[in-house]
Symmetry: C2
């Protein structure tokens, strides 16, 4: 056995509590694997007197982060407080005082990853964040360590368990969005305010992390197009099924000529595509690489235990590699982040139209004017609508987003058209 | 840039050729990532004058392995010759002369892994073998590096692409085994002598490697039960479908009280299980871990490009970690490898019986005597059989392998029973 490695933990919520319990329980095992003695020296909390479900000596709890930053014996800090502020300040200070950092904080890495990686390298310490995407499912390590040599063409991922649970419910049980959301909330899969998950913001943070690692370039998340799932109706699943598709909230990043195109939105995917088969709160990340072909990594997306397992994996890595900064991502490229307008895709468009003669011809004329070819059309009474309205569904061949936008604007002006109810890209 | 790292390659077949081409093509990129200059100094071949599809200077080709073992400037050796003999001798000599080894050789690691790991550690160099299972699909690195802390309960894997292709063909196109095998041979998925793949021997090598890493114990492959797929009939797929199952060649290793139980055999799995959805020559490995839950890694199982990508990943790891032996597996446990007789499982049994009254009652009596409960029975005319014969299918509840064996022996003696045509365990 070598010296004792002292660890500090920032934050003691659900995950912190679970993690400390697991660490205490598996300590001797981890010491055997890493050949090092480990000790939790300090835990930063907001309330010294809170009751906790885990045994911690009172003298290691503190509300003063300086006790951690200034303690030279602490060489590893685990940040599980969440949020960008004050996590960014705290993590920066730890790296600057030559402590390696392990974080499960996707907001932090998505917002300040590049600068934190630089700080780590400058101070010759490590920063690891396996649990920031898909909890302990080994996707970050795969991108950083196993595929570091790689020429990745694309990433397509289901990385928001809440949305995937809701969409799976809607598909399997024919329920409407609100009903599925309520069930997700009841089961603890969705927050009381579900915006972050259902509008795609959570997935966008994660996509910005995955794509920055895959393409070795900074990907500022506000630049990424995002659409959520709250506008999808149960009937869209029926049409999707008829056409041979499932609907998923996909996070997609592709290398294109002029840089990368990354986006989060609902997408129709062929029912035989492995991603179509990822159901419930599960996460899955598909990587397409030039030599390797297609690899899919599937696992839990959240939860105290899987998250703790990701943190543990990082901890062992830091201990084994002796804080070596080699695993810190090098964002050596400076790729352009393209606008969704440059996308070429197939589109599913569902309009509510007045049930009158000539509607189809007027609409297909406009699509023709914008050089959009139609692959399938479904016109049906929608029994959820009043009598005079009907659903008109177009599935296009590959078209540019800008042509589609123009066509939709023109179609909206037709008096026979009530509204565009759904626009779903086809992957 | 630091010093030049000199590399030698043992073997120059399909994979060797592809790998050298890729390495030449991506050299500057790899040098950037690893911050090291790399040079291929020697390549061991069997025929100096063979025409090659890749440009290599004649002076680096040799038929004398001593030129590699004795060259102190060579610090990494990539073994892609295959087979145990002389690969074991050569790899041993490389490790003993303090060279790190990268190998894609599953036979070698399955047969001599433990001793090679010891040699590597003793000489403080590395031995890596990502491409030995599922080509470049990152499963070895996941087990060794990301889940090193883990308490794995089980591994269930589809790790023979040939068998999975044949079974997928039989299932999707209703063809018989021989026809599917011929197609696999025509498409290059199966060898002219397919025994190794279709009888499960290839999967058994790979399972012995995966389970030794997962449970950190030596798993001698000859101790593992193995059954192939050649006895499965197209009609078994029909019954499976009726009962809600698919049939896959699974490699399974579980932790049980008295050690581990590992086996390769055809298995029925619920059609909704993600493993049931792995079709064609694809590989997939499911890992169940105490904290993490279920993770599935899916990717290509073979081929020069994916295999080269696995070797490349290992090469970069060795270069980045400076030959650190920390990544060499520590088989610290000494777990008992249990006999298949200790298995508790559900069973699918298909008998060919004489189409006479009383058959069902005689057979179910015997099953009852052995305390085997029946979950489903299907009795049908099998139109492939002569008129006087019929199929009788039992799906049992969980029973011990030894009870099943006894019952089968008794049933075989019944004059109304022609033969046991299929025994497939249900996962």
């Amino acid at each position: 056995m070598e010296d004792i490695t002292e660890i500090a933990i920032l934050g003691m919520g659900n995950i912190g509590t679970e993690f400390v319990e697991i660490l205490q329980h598996q300590l001797s095992e981890i010491e055997d694997i890493t050949n090092q003695k480990i000790k939790i020296s300090k835990i930063l909390v907001t309330d010294l007197n809170k009751e906790r479900n885990v045994q911690i000596k009172q003298n290691i709890i503190t509300t003063n982060p300086d006790e951690i930053f200034n303690n030279k014996n602490i060489s590893i800090v685990i940040e599980i407080m969440g949020g960008v502020d004050p996590a960014f300040e705290y993590v920066s200070k730890c790296l600057e005082s030559s402590k390696s950092v392990i974080t499960a904080n996707k907001d932090l890495i998505a917002t300040h990853g590049k600068i934190l990686f630089q700080k780590a390298k400058k101070n010759n310490v490590s920063i690891l964040f396996e649990a920031a995407v898909a909890s302990g499912t080994p996707i970050i390590s795969t991108l950083i360590r196993d595929l570091s040599y790689s020429n990745i063409n694309s990433i397509r991922a289901i990385i928001n368990g809440t949305s995937n649970f809701i969409l799976s419910e809607m598909e399997e049980k024919n329920t409407e969005f609100m009903e599925a959301l309520k069930l997700a909330q009841k089961l603890g899969y969705a927050e009381p305010d579900p915006t972050n998950d259902i509008e795609g913001f959570d997935a966008r943070y994660k996509l910005s992390i995955l794509s920055s690692l895959a393409f070795k370039t900074e990907v500022e998340y506000p630049k990424l197009h995002v659409e959520g799932i709250s506008k999808i109706d149960s009937i869209d699943f029926q049409y999707a099924k008829e056409l041979g598709y499932s609907i998923k909230l996909l996070a997609i990043a592709e290398k294109i000529k002029s840089g990368i195109l990354a986006r989060v939105h609902p997408a129709m995917i062929d029912v035989n595509n492995p991603l179509a088969k990822i159901s419930g709160a599960m996460n899955a990340i598909e990587i397409q690489e030039k030599l390797l072909g297609t690899v899919i990594i599937q696992g839990p997306g959240a939860g105290p235990s899987p998250t703790s397992s990701g943190i543990l994996s990082d901890l062992i890595h830091v201990l084994k590699t002796k804080h070596n900064s080699q695993s810190v991502p090098n964002l050596i490229n400076n790729l352009q982040i393209n606008d969704i307008k440059t996308l070429e895709s197939r589109f599913y468009l569902r309009f509510i139209v007045h049930d009158k003669a000539g509607v189809l011809s007027k609409m297909s004329n406009i699509l023709g004017e914008e050089s959009i070819s139609i692959a399938s059309v479904i016109q049906k009474e929608n029994t959820n609508l009043e009598e005079k309205y009907a659903d008109l569904v177009f599935m296009t061949y590959k078209s540019s987003q800008s042509s589609i936008d123009k066509a939709i604007q023109k179609i909206a002006k037709l008096d026979v058209v009530d509204q565009l109810k759904s626009l779903i890209r086809v992957e």
